[in-house]
């Protein structure tokens, strides 16, 4: 077994085992809900990780896809009485299409401009969610019907496994993209677009593709969030959502395979454990984000992978040299 395979699938196995046994270790619906939210935000984070961590394209508008996915999911069930799997698929497809339509023009922009353009797109979506009351339910949002699958009502525990299954699938997709020619090409696009195009990479196509993939990840996360919360409201597309996303991505580690899981777990669980901290949440997220960026820019996941990598395939102690040269990936 090569070290790369081991690096990919060892964390997968650990995550799968934790996910599978977690419901037996947790007590009550509240703890189960926290566990589900962790998986939800891990999915959201993985999409962002592919887009920014690997392909270097900073979008501050992922919360728009999170919301569009969730609203589509709710609306398809309310107005067309679609079943859960079809509504889920519908939400993903709509996000993919919107991602393509927005991505094509917007990805001609770079760096700050791309970040602000995507943020503006998200503000438009947020405004529509708030104001188009007849369609979106305005401030109070929409309720999602109780989940059922093939005629059977889903219990809390079933819902847990559904959400966890989505997260596991998202992880596999992430690993697939990262470890094949797709991931290499995206890294090349991040490093040097001119050189990438001259070795035969269609830069525009890759940027748009990964933008669409990230939009689909966000859609799945938004839908799962709506399922867990039993509804969807404009806060899904709010600025708070993108701060959550950035915080979990940076704390977990940009570009790291396991980062989104670690980041999501910390960002979701920390405010719950420290009682009465909800009021301080905005402040703490901000401080956490800044402190990690300055003192642990690789994030927790990235740092773990780095030291693990050393023991896998770096017996000659070259990892310290590598640490210096790789120190600055955004």
């Amino acid at each position: 077994m090569s070290s790369t395979t081991l690096r990919n699938w060892l964390p997968a196995t650990v995550i799968l085992m934790i996910g599978a046994v977690l419901p037996w270790l947790l007590q009550g619906n509240f703890q189960l809900r926290i566990a589900m939210l962790t998986w939800v935000f891990a999915i959201f984070g993985m999409g962002f990780n592919l887009l920014y961590g690997i392909a270097g394209q900073l979008s501050l508008g992922q919360q728009a896809f999170f919301a569009i996915g969730a609203y589509t999911f709710a609306l398809l069930q309310i107005h067309f009485a679609l079943s859960l799997p079809l509504a889920l698929l519908g939400g993903i497809v709509v996000c993919a299409v919107v991602g393509l339509v927005i991505g094509l023009p917007v990805l001609r922009l770079r760096t700050h401009y791309l970040a602000m353009a995507t943020l503006m797109f998200a503000m438009i979506v947020h405004d529509v969610a708030l104001r188009w009351t007849d369609f979106t339910g305005g401030t109070s949002g929409l309720r999602v019907p109780p989940p059922s699958l093939f005629g059977a009502r889903l219990e809390r525990i079933d819902l847990y496994y559904l959400v966890f299954g989505l997260a596991a699938a998202a992880y596999c997709l992430q690993i697939f993209i990262k470890s094949t020619h797709l991931g290499r090409a995206l890294e090349a696009v991040k490093t040097d677009e001119t050189a990438a195009s001259s070795v035969g990479i269609d830069v525009t196509r890759y940027k748009v593709s990964i933008f669409v993939v990230a939009a689909m990840f966000a859609a799945v996360a938004g839908i799962a969030y709506a399922l867990v919360s039993r509804g969807v409201d404009p806060s899904y597309s709010g600025i708070g959502m993108v701060v959550n996303l950035l915080t979990l991505s940076v704390v977990g580690g940009l570009g790291s395979r396991i980062g989104p899981f670690i980041g999501a777990a910390i960002v979701i669980i920390a405010p719950q454990i420290l009682a009465g901290l909800q009021e301080y949440q905005t402040l703490i997220y901000g401080v956490g984000l800044l402190v990690f960026m300055i003192f642990l820019p690789r994030g927790i996941g990235g740092s773990i992978e780095r030291s693990a990598e050393g023991s896998f395939d770096d017996p000659k102690g070259e990892k310290s040299a590598r640490r210096i040269s790789r120190a600055e990936t955004p």
């Binding site: 020619h181 590598r322 790789r326």
Partner: protein
């Protein structure tokens, strides 16, 4: 006896920036199996010409015909699949990818599949990936760097990075290799090594078009030389002819000699 059509023909190629002519109606040909060098004083338009041929800058006039195809509208990323690939004056590797991953990227055009089709054909993608890794190893072996395959590319010294870049170009199976000052920044031993490698590639039938400052290098390897001055082609011929061409001596070699003589 009929000569086969040239592999690459540059016809009246021009590039203007605003009112300024950087390259003005330059024409020459590269035949199969040939090594052609482009020389000229600083600012003669060599690099611009190179970017025009490789598609990184759009032409403002003329045609680039490669293997019978008009290349004018072919975007840079499609050129390696057609058989034309380039290296850069300043080595442009993807620094935090490993050496072998860099070389594998050069073969991207061979396996190229979009996101959706890759997902649907997972086993094929994995097999292709393995084949590509094998092929990358072959080319790393050829340039003598197989031992460093798994190191980050940015760790290699400059001379070895140049070799990785050549391996990355060769894996796409080009008919024509475009080299932009390949010997720049190399020491004596590295230059000799580069010369050997290029000769071996040429013996296998590869055609090469290169821009170079190092006169000894270019005179030693090229079958034919094209001389540019102020954006126009002032002479072409064998190294021997170029050495004796009065216009070239005047424009390029001679000026310096003349200055020295006074």
């Amino acid at each position: 006896m009929t000569t086969p059509p040239p592999l690459l023909s540059i016809r009246e190629v021009s590039k203007r920036f605003g009112g300024l002519s950087a390259v003005d109606a330059v024409s020459f040909e590269v035949h199969s199996g040939e090594i052609v060098g482009v020389i000229g004083p600083n600012g003669a338009g060599k690099s611009t010409l190179f970017n025009l041929v490789s598609g990184l800058a759009p032409l403002t006039g003329g045609d680039v015909i490669f293997g019978g195809n008009d290349m004018t509208l072919v975007p840079p990323h499609e050129r390696s699949a057609i058989g034309m690939t380039r290296t850069f004056q300043i080595v442009r590797l993807f620094g935090h990818l490993s050496v072998i991953e860099n070389v594998m990227l050069g073969g991207h055009c061979r396996t190229t599949q979009g996101f959706a089709s890759s997902l649907l054909r997972l086993p094929k993608v994995l097999i292709d990936d393995r084949k590509l890794r094998h092929l990358a190893m072959h080319w790393l072996n050829f340039v003598g760097l197989s031992k460093r395959a798994d190191e980050p590319a940015s760790h290699l010294p400059h001379g070895q990075q140049r070799m990785v870049e050549i391996a990355r170009a060769m894996i796409s199976g080009p008919k024509l290799l475009l080299l932009d000052e390949p010997a720049a920044g190399l020491n004596g031993a590295e230059t000799t090594n580069l010369l050997n490698i290029l000769r071996q590639l040429n013996d296998r039938g590869l055609s090469i078009l290169l821009v170079e400052h190092d006169m000894k290098f270019i005179m030693g390897i090229c079958d034919r030389i094209v001389v540019l001055d102020h954006g126009t082609g002032i002479a072409q011929g064998t190294p021997q002819e170029i050495r004796q061409n009065p216009a070239v001596i005047e424009a390029y070699l001679g000026k310096r000699n003349g200055d020295a003589a006074h």
